[in-house]
């Protein structure tokens, strides 16, 4: 399914991640090829964001190496790297009153070595990205006045405007309403069909299942599982990874993941029955 000639978009070798001396990921060997959509799954504090930041080159690995398109990530010149991969941070603190369109235009920065002002092509790219994310009507708004979900969509629009073959997203579905969660998942799937590679961190197993082709499970103790969603998103692996029993239920042609509701809930006496 992969093209043997081109180097993988991401390849890690013996990648080890630690935070504050705590081992999160040990000896990760991982390949992400163009056209693949990966979902990184794991409990809180398992190193999902740390992995993403390391792959993006924002943080040095604690062991092993990361290569993007065959080149070690530390060897990339920063502007070239910014044309290769885009990174959506988990949160944004907006200190200044930039307009929405300005924040998206800034994503064109890596293409601007030779000019001082954005051109009409940059405006076209930014406006197209805003339309894709359904936020074109917010273009002139102060980013600090947006709701959490609107801000998130604007940030994803900026990611699109950056126009890179590799997209790294830390919880893209954060703060989005249901319709936009599905829309963003579909958008990522479409980007993959166009030949890009997407890696996203997420907590919604059903979104991951419907949008991703591959999954990486981080257990938080150094161990991990990588493979196609079909191979890796098995109830027993997911349950062990997330520390909660999870059932995969066939619903027509679809598979639905449900956390095992504690059976006792229905039998429990109401908490405030004494009054």
């Amino acid at each position: 399914m992969t093209l043997p000639m081109t180097p993988p978009m991401i390849s890690t070798q013996d990648l080890t991640l630690r935070v504050d001396g705590r081992l999160l990921v040990e000896r990760l060997d991982w390949r992400v090829h163009a056209g693949e959509s990966w979902c990184v799954i794991g409990p809180n504090g398992a190193g999902k964001s740390t992995l993403l930041r390391t792959v993006a080159g924002l943080r040095a690995p604690d062991g092993g190496s990361v290569a993007l398109a065959g080149r070690p990530v530390g060897d990339w010149a920063l502007p070239a790297l910014a044309r290769e991969r885009a990174y959506l941070a988990q949160s944004r603190g907006d200190a200044f009153a930039y307009r929405v369109i300005e924040t998206v235009l800034m994503a064109r920065h890596p293409y601007h070595a030779d000019r001082y002002w954005e051109g009409s092509d940059d405006h076209a790219a930014a406006e197209a990205a805003l339309r894709t994310l359904d936020v074109a009507h917010l273009a002139e708004r102060d980013v600090r006045t947006l709701s959490g979900g609107e801000r998130q969509r604007v940030a994803i629009a900026a990611l699109l405007a950056q126009d890179t073959p590799l997209l790294l997203l830390d919880e893209p579905a954060n703060a989005l309403d249901l319709a936009h969660q599905v829309a963003v998942t579909e958008l990522m799937a479409r980007l993959c069909r166009e030949g890009r590679a997407v890696v996203s961190v997420g907590h919604d197993l059903n979104l991951a299942w419907s949008g991703a082709t591959h999954a990486l499970l981080l257990n938080g103790d150094g161990s991990w599982h990588a493979g196609t969603t079909r191979d890796v998103m098995r109830p027993e692996l997911l349950s062990a990874c997330l520390g909660h029993p999870i059932a995969a239920i066939a619903h027509g042609a679809r598979t639905v993941f449900l956390p095992d509701a504690p059976a006792a809930v229905t039998n429990l006496a109401p908490v405030r029955n004494s009054q």
Binding site: L58, R59, Y87, G93, A95, Y98, E102
Partner: protein, 352 residues
């Protein structure tokens, strides 16, 4: 294939022309302010005498009364302009550095360090140039100390962390500033009565006796040019440090540039004018409010507005109670505080 439409043309858009128009207007206002500073005073220079006096001034031999007055006043106005411009520019840089629109050039203790140096010189009754030298030494000394203490936060050495935003710099600066202020209080409390007035005036910020000087202008010109070259990167950095690193901006290098440049500008400003308050906070804020947060317009606009503002404030300081002169720092604070409060209020209204 791509989600983005193919680029049709690459013509620059309206923002460029708008910026040039705004800057042209601001430059014109600066000239008007200079003219006003030359004409106004306890002995006014008639407008009709202005061309004649100006010509003889440029020729290098101020012959009559008007030309001499103009020489003195324009010299002082030039010092005021370069000081105000440096403070406003340093304010914009400091706000981008700590990513907080409410920071000012003094927040990292540069002026407090300068005050220690200048007041020590005043305390020992040193000559005027020694006071300036003391201020400069204090400002540079505190900046170096701060750089050493917080160099990890500034990304000194190409370390693993490419973003660097931990607040270590800001906290270290604030603590060093309060240490300096303790020293200042100590010196004020042991100073003999006769020297106290001069020391207090230095603290308030005073431009009396300042005249033509080339060095601050050179520093200002270099800082404006260097900053304009980096304005686009500064925009990205002000947005979000992580995003800036992901967009190919060398964040540690930019932070070091901002730190050094704003420190140098502030040192220049406090050396010639003492710690004049509020220009570095209010002017960048007002410019951001009026022209938006894009540094490509904000940097030059704040420079021009800051310079004009201080020339205006200084002209008022020496005319409202003429022949008595007020320290200009009193006026900038008197004007600055209500303007600042008004803006802050507006901001809260809009964010609600």
């Amino acid at each position: 294939m791509s989600v983005l439409p193919a680029a049709s043309t690459t013509q620059p858009v309206h923002s460029q022309r708008g910026t040039l128009a705004v800057l042209g207007a601001l430059a014109f206002v600066s000239l008007l302010v200079f003219a006003a500073a030359g004409l106004a005073g306890s002995v006014p220079v008639p407008l009709a005498d202005l061309p004649q006096a100006f010509i003889s001034l440029v020729a290098g031999e101020p012959s009559d009364m008007s030309a001499t007055l103009l020489d003195l006043r324009l010299g002082r106005a030039s010092a005021a302009f370069v000081t105000g411009a440096a403070l406003a520019l340093a304010g914009v840089m400091m706000q981008a550095l700590v990513r907080n629109p409410l920071a000012d050039p003094y927040v990292l203790g540069v002026s407090a360090g300068a005050a220690v140096g200048a007041l020590a010189a005043l305390l020992f009754g040193a000559a005027l140039w020694m006071v300036d030298l003391g201020a400069l030494a204090g400002a540079v000394g505190i900046s170096l100390l701060l750089y050493l203490l917080a160099r990890r936060d500034l990304g000194g050495g190409r370390g693993a962390v490419r973003t660097g935003e931990s607040g270590v710099l800001l906290l270290t600066g604030v603590v060093l500033a309060s240490a300096c202020m303790a020293l200042v209080t100590l010196m004020l409390s042991v100073a003999p009565e006769s020297r106290l007035r001069g020391m207090v005036f230095w603290m308030i910020g005073d431009l009396a006796g300042s005249s033509w000087r080339l060095l601050p202008w050179l520093v200002l010109a270099a800082a404006v040019l260097l900053a304009l070259c980096r304005a686009r990167s500064l925009n990205v950095m002000a947005l979000h440090a992580d995003a800036a690193a992901a967009l190919g901006v060398d964040v540690p290098a930019q932070r070091r540039f901002l730190f050094l440049c704003s420190g140098l500008l502030t040192a220049c400003a406090v050396t010639s004018g003492g710690s004049i308050g509020f220009v570095g906070l209010v002017v960048p804020h007002a410019c951001r409010y009026a022209f938006g947060p894009d540094h490509r317009i904000l940097l030059p606009a704040a420079t021009l507005v800051g310079g004009s503002f201080l020339v205006l404030a200084d002209t008022l300081a020496r005319t409202v109670l003429a022949p008595q002169q007020l320290p200009v720092g009193v006026l900038t604070s008197l004007i600055g505080v209500p303007v600042f409060l008004f803006q802050l209020h507006q901001l809260h209204l809009r964010r609600r």
